[in-house]
């Protein structure tokens, strides 16, 4: 790890981190603020929901949510937060080395006396730091917003801790999978389509999994691995799936290092 690369990477991502953090904070705050008004009529809402086609509710993962409770409602918000975090982490993952190669600054960096391992480690740690800042904002705003807007309805912090605690594993998954894909394809010209594809793709896999019956496919998506509804219902993580998630992350990282050390950095073509 080289401190100078780490700091440089952090600096280049400052604006992005601020924008993502503010957006996610606004999302949590805004949706939480409508809870107290919402909860008073929750019985009506649940009645209304029961009239929707079950397939539709399943598609949005709302069939098991109880929107009347504070955490049930928060878990709906948390799904949206997860989508944002997935795209942000995917952005950083896909762009980690590909941006420098596209903008051809990789020549500058890699002709310096640093090893590829040092470069990748510094970049990964910087990206993780950036993601952790957003993560910390999510923690703070979630606790703050729920404390303000829970009204007269109680909630237990245990499940909230579980949900928020899963964020870092969730982010690491998209960071490392994004990175390994960017190293496997020949060239990533633009990061956003990839990260949107990965983020929404994984979300859709989870959301629609119920509709297609159980399939192996749904087991690969982090949205399923870290399903907030499961955490609320069981008061724990779905341990096998979380372990599966962590293993995918680990394997993606190992392959990334292997590929990056052997990678040819091409000149202008």
């Amino acid at each position: 790890m080289s401190a100078n690369i780490y700091l440089h990477e952090l600096r280049t991502r400052v604006r992005s981190v601020i924008i993502w953090s503010l957006s996610v904070a606004a999302l949590i705050f805004f949706f939480s603020s409508i809870y107290s008004g919402f909860a008073d009529q929750a019985v009506l809402i649940n009645q209304m929901m029961s009239k929707f086609p079950p397939a539709l509710l399943e598609a949005f993962g709302m069939n098991r949510m109880n929107l009347a409770t504070v955490l049930g409602f928060y878990s709906l918000i948390f799904k949206f937060v997860q989508i944002c975090l997935a795209i942000q982490a995917g952005n950083y993952g896909f762009g980690l080395v590909s941006v420098e190669e596209n903008e051809l600054t990789a020549d500058f960096l890699l002709s310096k006396p640093v090893s590829r391992t040092q470069v990748l480690t510094s970049k990964l740690l910087a990206a993780l730091t950036s993601l952790t800042i957003t993560n910390a904002v999510v923690w703070a705003v979630s606790f703050g917003a729920l404390a303000i807007f829970h009204g007269s309805y109680p909630y237990e912090t245990g499940s909230l801790f579980l949900m928020l605690g899963s964020i870092v594993i969730f982010q690491l998954f998209f960071l490392s999978v994004g990175l390994v894909i960017s190293l496997l394809v020949k060239r990533v010209r633009s990061v956003t389509p990839y990260s949107l594809g990965l983020g929404f793709g994984m979300y859709v896999l989870d959301a629609f999994s119920g509709m297609f019956g159980t399939s192996v496919l749904e087991d690969i998506t982090p949205f399923k691995h870290m399903d907030p509804t499961y955490m609320i219902q069981n008061g724990s993580y779905d341990t096998p799936l979380v372990l599966l998630n962590a293993s995918v992350t680990l394997i993606a990282l190992v392959i990334s290092y292997w590929l990056y050390i052997r990678r040819d950095i091409h000149a202008v073509s």
Binding site: S2, N4, H8, T12, E103, L104, T105, A106, D107, F108, L110, S111, K112, P113, V114, S115, Q118, R262, D264, I265, H266, A267, V268
Partner: protein, 290 residues
């Protein structure tokens, strides 16, 4: 001591050729010219030596160490000026140069300012606002600020105005006088001729000639111009004569062979004017391409 030692180095990008079976070496303190047209493999060779890309086969050593296994160590004493310069667009020149310096153990601040003053570089401008020539100057400063022992210059003068080119060449000569070894890749022969002691010519990925620049000019073709009566293009139809051209009663041709024989042949005419000169590198070079 050989600073660069390249042995049967080969690089294929998938199926397309980079370089094939390239071998040469460069001694300490030399300025080695590496010439060839675009796409001949000049940049590929430099990128291999910097371990930006990995060889398909063969090996290369810099400072006696293998470039694949000891790249990090080697790069401590290398300065690199790429043919196309790209830097972090959002940064200020001074920040980029400081970032560059932060990779080396030396305190390079003094040298950084010396070089920037010399190249008339404005340190507070953003990289994205710089013209191509100014970016090139940033490249020169960042390549030299850590006082490297070996310099890779990949078509360094493109984008520099003639005045800057001259300053740049003076700078390279000064560095060389301090003992810095220079690997100079270019397709502009004039500048190679001005600066280099030895040249390697690369064509379609293969080395076609490695030679002392003097020897290349001397042991090679002579350029002969004869003005005399009764000349026609067939007059000097001797072995060793090529590129015969007739122009306003003057016959121009290249000759390689026994110069005495040529002199006898010329003296058999009533000669109005004769010159026998060493060809420019340009002319030798063109010859290799035919």
């Amino acid at each position: 001591m050989s600073v660069i030692e390249v042995t049967n180095l080969t690089k294929y990008y998938g199926k397309s050729r980079g370089i094939v079976d390239v071998s040469f070496s460069e001694e300490e303190g030399e300025i080695f010219g590496f010439i060839g047209p675009n796409g001949a493999g000049k940049s590929t060779t430099i990128r291999l030596l910097l371990s930006l890309i990995h060889p398909t086969s063969g090996s290369a050593k810099v400072f006696g160490k293998d470039v694949v296994t000891h790249g990090t160590e080697i790069r401590r004493d290398i300065g690199y000026l790429p043919s196309e310069v790209f830097y972090y667009e959002g940064m200020k020149v001074i920040d980029l140069l400081k970032y560059s310096a932060s990779f080396y153990e030396c305190d390079c601040t003094k040298r950084l300012h010396e070089l920037s003053d010399l190249m008339e570089l404005e340190l507070n401008r953003r990289i994205s606002d710089l013209s191509y020539g100014n970016k090139k100057k940033v490249g020169i400063v960042q390549g030299l600020l850590h006082s490297p022992k070996l310099l890779f210059l990949d078509e360094p003068t493109a984008g520099l105005d003639p005045l800057m080119q001259r300053k740049f060449f003076d700078l390279i000569r000064q560095e060389n006088a301090r003992g810095v070894t220079v690997f100079f890749s270019s397709h502009i022969l004039g500048e190679v001729q001005r600066l280099c002691t030895r040249v390697g010519i690369i064509r379609e990925g293969k080395i076609v000639e490695i030679s002392d620049i003097r020897a290349l000019q001397q042991n090679n073709y002579k350029k002969v111009n004869v003005t005399a009566d009764k000349l026609n293009p067939k007059t000097f139809d001797l072995p060793g004569v090529t590129n015969v051209q007739m122009e306003n009663g003057t016959l121009h041709f290249f000759f390689k062979g026994d110069i005495n024989m040529m002199l006898k042949k010329i003296s058999s005419f009533q000669v109005a004017d004769v010159t026998i000169e060493e060809p420019t590198l340009e002319e030798i070079f063109m010859h290799y391409y035919e």
